[in-house]
Symmetry: C2
Subunit: 344 residues, 2 copies
Amino acid sequence: MAEKKNVLLVGAGGVGTMAAVSLEASGRASVTAVLRSNFASVSEHGFNIESVDYGSLKAWKPTNIAKQVPDVAQDNLPPFDYIVVATKNCPDVGPAVEEIIAPAITQGHTVIVLVQNGLNIEKPLIKTFPQNVVLSGISLIGVAEKGHGNIIHDYHDELIVGAFKNPNIGPDTARAAAAEFVEIYSTSGKVACEHNENVDFVRWRKLIYNASFNPISTITGMDTTRLRLAKTPIETLVKPAMREIWNAAKAAGHDIPEEHIENTIHIDPLEVYCKPSMLQDVEKGNYIEYENILGEPIREAEKLGVPIPTLKTLYGLCAALQWKTKEARGLIELEGSNLVPNEG
Amino acid sequence: MAEKKNVLLVGAGGVGTMAAVSLEASGRASVTAVLRSNFASVSEHGFNIESVDYGSLKAWKPTNIAKQVPDVAQDNLPPFDYIVVATKNCPDVGPAVEEIIAPAITQGHTVIVLVQNGLNIEKPLIKTFPQNVVLSGISLIGVAEKGHGNIIHDYHDELIVGAFKNPNIGPDTARAAAAEFVEIYSTSGKVACEHNENVDFVRWRKLIYNASFNPISTITGMDTTRLRLAKTPIETLVKPAMREIWNAAKAAGHDIPEEHIENTIHIDPLEVYCKPSMLQDVEKGNYIEYENILGEPIREAEKLGVPIPTLKTLYGLCAALQWKTKEARGLIELEGSNLVPNEG
């Protein structure tokens, strides 16, 4: 049997941890997970996982855990074959993904797998690591971390992987890296991992949900069930936002099937009262990744001359919420104080 | 000296109470204020008012207070000359203003003064009471009720009054009613009350603030100072919303001066951290009056072929917040329960 692949996981929340489970379950990869807020808890107790795909995993741990991204050159470590990045991606508040993973990259060897949403996330990575393959991972999993190390995985893990276009790397090399990763990820037979080379199409299609339900749930504080029961938000917000993404995708050359809009509205089971990840983030006081999910599609649409007014308004509101989170974290100092409110 | 005018005040919050103060201060009107949530408190202690125009008024009361709208026919009361309506106007959640005030109306006599924001608020009144003059009151006051009967009035009371067009009533009659009301309201010399017959112009102009800062503050939970300090919400939300109102007003024949937009952005003193009334309403768990402030201008703009996409998105978000308030008040019953949140 071939030597196990050496995998670094950065971002061991729900999505990342379930990726680690599948990679380890293959028997073909050893995962080093970089843990931050949940390091102490996982170090002592491991992860407690209730998974729709794997059942109950008590005190589960990957091969290694680490407190920070290893510096392979400085510490003379064996190179990582893959780095799976499953952190939130918030370039407006930094630090950037390419800075975070830089110490663990071996030039021309390490394959970077971005399991993150939105458009153009590969650009800074390819610029910083031009000789490394960068893979796109679009996850359709339903999972949340409820308290440190407690993973509730309630919707089947389905990962769509393909190589981002990189002019410095031959397409065969890139394709082979994607195919290998998909093969390892699929080995357990419990999850679905699809190799799809039409990376941009897959990313635009995912935006139908992410650029609509994510910000609208976040701004209103309503789960997707409530938005659907209230009806008006679906008609006046969700559908127009989805249609704008659909139009922009079409102008960019991606024919998303018409019925994908209606299907996406109804994708979350009504009885689950789904909170999209962005709403979970604001509720935890975390930053939201609205730049790649809204900002980049808006900029692409404007380049293509596609009107995208609903998304622009949602973008402005997300920017306002991000500012509030910064204020709550003490990054913004206000002068004066709250005096008397005004009648407007 | 002529007999005092018999005035009924419906809606004795900040705006209504300060109107009562000015009317009583004229010596030419006796006010009966209908109190609801603050009846017990005001009945016992009166209003405590800190007013930028009138100074400290301790235990102040109008001539009469009442627990409900008097039924003049049934109780054989003298007719009201004026009914000043300063309630919130939420036709989507009712009861309608015309139903509330019906028992106090004397047909062909009582002048109705709507001190309320938004467009087309007079339509149901004129339909229900075709022989009564309906006046428009646009208030530029800064005032809030902090706890029952405690009125903090921190920005000069300026009321703009004019008669709504009513095909059943001669313009001279309507104009005379407006002029008389303005004269009484102004008598104290402490406040400004202007007679302006260009009622629609005044209402559209007020919407520059009300259709932008009100919903945007409400949706983001940010006062107008924070919105300005955060900058992006002003550029991506407030200015586009104001511009849409400006465009719609122009198409409707109202030339609002160009600089009114920039002036309105800066109208609230930065050090005051102004919370527009709609934000105060959601914070108190009250309904918001988004139908007349957003819904009607949107419908007017669409009739006129003016694109108004920002306002439409804000409208949808306000509808979502209104639904949440209904749910919080127990008017919406949900099946199932919150299970596991989903990763979107």
